[in-house]
Symmetry: D2
């Protein structure tokens, strides 16, 4: 099958199906309702289930239920809807179940607006829910990458028995781009007999599996949290993904940006390069684990005077950039949070002004 | 009135009343249900209202409703309950309403356990909900400080028209300590006529106030988020609170810890001092804004070889310590997350081992 | 205090207050929302509570909660809202708690319309909820009577420890009539210490009261149901209320009608009388207990050829008329169920045609 | 397929499947949870859906949703659960949608007990919900009849576009009896294209169907209610079902009883007959429409001195018996309502005492 032109939201839905996911629970919310619309007819076509919950709170627990049975399951929502799932996400992570969440972010806080935003960076990477857990968070910069990330998300969720979140924005969901789907995945997680509560009769072994996040005994809860921490540390070692841009040049500034925002930055870098003004970029593809080392190394280049976090939020990723830079150069932030995506000219002006200040 | 011996949870409830708060909405959850129990009879006694919601989701919006009318309002819960309030908290912050939240943290994630924990540091300081907002977060180390923080929380919430969160743990809630209550506050926020929807007839002016977080126009949402950011930047300048301990000595290590955890650290520091091994401590009293500068300055002391974040969580505050230290010395983490509070001997061993490694 | 002109809905609200009821829980629904509006400011004025529930299901259980504590409590709703309270009503009756319900009926079934109707006769008199219980049901024909019935409803509910329902229609709620309020009631049910769960400390005795409807043992449940039946039989003996009209004449037909419908019938009877055509009427003021004996006696008059149930419903009260008449004469039904109240001319034509048929 | 031994609850579930019903929504409640358990695995086996709702309120509206799309749908519950569905049932009847409800009654009111009961007779036959509507109500006396009634219920619901209710009790649900299933039904209601909202593309015609119960205009609502009344009158003419027992004898008393209660009465009649004491019985198989004429005719027999309504409730069906008897002989009631089914000896004593009184 070759490339086809698809809207981002529909491509995300189709990607889940190609990933062998037959369980989709959701509650509609702009700007991602097309995913639910698409899967409302596509899921039955492949023998899968789409169920609209009574609320996002209910959806979160439907996801938990299916995940606990070892079924491939995902949901999609937008910012306020994800907040309503916070408790369930913490439970799923605590019970070590695999599940895939897609957040097509809208402007916030509160009702906010329905235009593109990256304002849920903190919620996704630092845990909107309570307790010590982490989501593996991926941020696509286009429709093709969104498809690939969704399809990778399921095996990653199963490898770590942990929720994976795809963090997109309204542009990713609404734009049309040519897409080529990777090979389909097998429909069953490979290891689920070891932990999932899928009924005694369907398992070869005679184990009784128990899915839970309750550990009233302090030693058990401590041990449980050490198991979780070991997983998150392993993610930090094995799952960091990022893309470098123009890092061979002697750049004066390093941009860190992700998602659709990074595409504008790339254009700005190209324009600046034509002017003889070199700027490099690290684009995190995983937001947790964060490419700390790549950024730390990038700012070691002598020519680099400043690291700039460019985000469609009021200063969230910049904190991870600060941690990564470890004081090697100043860290600046530039962002917007109303729904208008900054244009290349704004980026160019900002970068120049930051560099100028430092000279 | 002199000092009286009170249980932490009850003292927190009484403090809200002394702060002139007559509206308390809550849903019971261990280990803070005594607050609801206490206020169930105490609120009516002072002409106030305690209403148990149908769920924490409902409670969050009851708080929003009262706050939007300009009434002093607070709620208390524990970790999973706070997750369920995430959406409402984002709405309240987005609509710029004052409200006070108390989170007596329990072990997590998921159901976890009911023993003391500090595992909701991220949720409180980085925003459990969606969108660009911040809570002003205070962490008491004892019952007296809890009382003072609760009583300060109301005027701070009103000054910034922003939710304030008190982050305690089960020990704070359950222990009994002598308490002296500060002078009572006036029962009415001073500025509420300017923004609250408290009914046309009761206001002197003829303004129509509107409480909302919806801004569909991108320029309006952008402007709104800049207003919010300006508030959070002002908090960073004006509201940082912390306590230093043994910073006059030539300490080899700097501990950063908060809440009840810091009391154990203090004992460990005293024991080590008796041995001639100097260790300093910065105890953040506000977690947002975080005492970044105080920590940065503290690690500049030549003798200081390492900064250690000691927390009853699996590595959350350590990220803010890393940001604050800005690469000036190594940053280490030590923590537990099962409900057992580390004892001084553990702290002593850990600090010594970190320092030893570095020599 | 003399007579004042009041809208029915507001007069009903005021009557509850004069009856010493300080607890009102409700969810707004046309055509009775003015009761909630009125009590939203009037209840606080007298130190009472108005709480809007999250739904009528919630309201039903708020009523149960307050009733179980021995507090005077009432709620008001309209047809679909009462359906949602069906389970709670059965629980309240089963647990023998006093409470007052007002149903300002709208057209049905389903969403129906918002115009006057008497279509919930069956629901009110035969029990919308499950199990063997009865409501004491009163049906006012005007605003003054609505006020009196509401004020009688509380002591009756307390006498029988059983829910009482006032069944009105949109006309009762919307029309304005001069009202004179009876003397106020004491604010406390007299017998509540014997059964209500109002807290050990506030009672003189040391009894532990238990409010429940669960009796898993068949003998206990049987005994419980016999107690309930004895109460309903006592109501049948002691609480039947009705009004006779023109029963001294040698009427050819007996009308049975209630509520606002009966006012139109009365006009029709007056017109017919002027023509020399005598028609009598029994107007049930209590629908349960139903004035069976009064009707049976009325149809014994030799001149009486037919009994006609005239109701704004499609044939509900007619069944109770049939039971009462016991075959002594034919029983006919006339009704409308769209919201238009029949006019006297329609009644006249109908009565004449029924009588004509029989001659 | 021959006879198989099955538990009543499971047989009811299987019957729905044989009737071509592929949609089952329910919330578990004793004493009928086995139906949900059975269908939880059986529905997927035949390509159907079992969905457990969040509450019975939700289930009622799931049923409405599926019914409105023209799908065969049913639900099962027990007394309090049916109360929670009252509003939805009224909506479904008002919108003229076919659906099948099974109520395996438990003792009431309120929580009551879990033993057999017939205490929801009024709720089923007089409408638990609001407004002018009727359910077609069938009451099986054994497992085989339950199966047949469930299978007839679907085409009847579709013929009348009205909810049908099967009223059983815990004995029907729990007992095992040999069952033979009738031929399977086609899986699709025949007339659904005329009214169901099943999507434009799947219909041959180009009609836009609208499923609703809202008629704000009084003339439209009146016309709508006349259409409904005409359906209920047609049911009264065409759908009355009952069984006679010993009506050829010169019986001194006529028993009216239904469901499992009637089986005990039959035994009592046999014992009495052996003594030379003749008693007849009419067993309503449909409770609405009620076999009024059959009963009226039966009491015309000269030997008949009394009609006795024997029911596991405190006097509900007796009212319909009174209406049917039309004063031709005395009507008595005997019943229990605790969960213990009366034994034949009790029936015998009661009948004898009633007859004795009259002589």
């Amino acid at each position: 099958m070759g490339r086809i032109l698809m809207k981002g939201n529909e491509a995300i839905g189709e990607a889940a199906i190609r990933a062998g996911c037959l369980n989709y629970f959701a509650y509609p919310i702009t700007p991602q309702s097309e995913i639910a619309e698409y899967l409302s007819w596509r899921m039955p076509e492949v023998g899968g289930v789409f169920l609209q919950g009574e609320s996002e709170v209910a959806v979160g627990y439907m996801v938990f239920g299916a995940a606990g049975c070892g079924a491939r399951v995902f949901t999609t929502s937008s910012s306020p809807g994800i907040s309503l799932m916070s408790e369930a996400i913490s439970y799923i992570a605590g019970a070590q179940c695999p599940a895939v969440f897609v957040n097509i972010m809208r402007g916030g806080p509160g009702l906010g607006g329905i235009l593109p935003s990256q304002a849920d960076y903190f919620q996704a990477t630092k845990g909107g829910g309570h307790g010590d857990y982490r989501l593996l968070v991926m941020a696509p910069a286009g429709v093709q990458e969104a498809v690939e990330m969704v399809m990778k998300a399921f095996p990653l969720a199963e490898k770590y028995r942990n929720p994976v979140m795809i963090l997109g924005d309204g542009l990713i969901g609404q734009m049309m781009e040519p897409v080529e789907f990777p090979d389909e995945l097998k429909s069953e997680p490979s290891n689920k007999d070891d932990w999932a509560t899928n009924g005694m009769e369907t398992r070869k072994s005679s184990r009784r599996n128990l899915v839970k996040s309750l550990f009233l005994d302090s030693e058990q809860l401590e041990a449980h949290n050490r198991v979780l921490k070991a997983k998150y540390d392993r993610m930090r070692r094995e799952e960091v993904r990022y893309e470098s841009y123009n890092l061979d040049a002697d750049y004066k500034a390093l941009i860190v940006s992700y998602g659709t925002m990074s595409r504008v930055c790339r254009t700005a870098i190209d324009i600046l390069k034509a002017e003889g003004f070199e700027v490099g970029m690290v684009r995190p593809q995983t937001l947790f684990p964060f490419p700390e080392r790549a950024i730390e190394e990038a700012v070691r280049r002598k020519s680099c005077k400043v690291a700039v976090s460019i985000e469609m939020s009021m200063g969230q990723m910049v904190e991870d950039v600060e941690r990564s830079v470890r004081g090697r150069c100043p860290v600046e932030w530039f962002g917007k949070a109303g729904g208008d995506v900054p244009i290349p000219e704004e980026i160019i002006d900002v970068i120049k002004s930051f560099v100028k200040e430092l000279i």
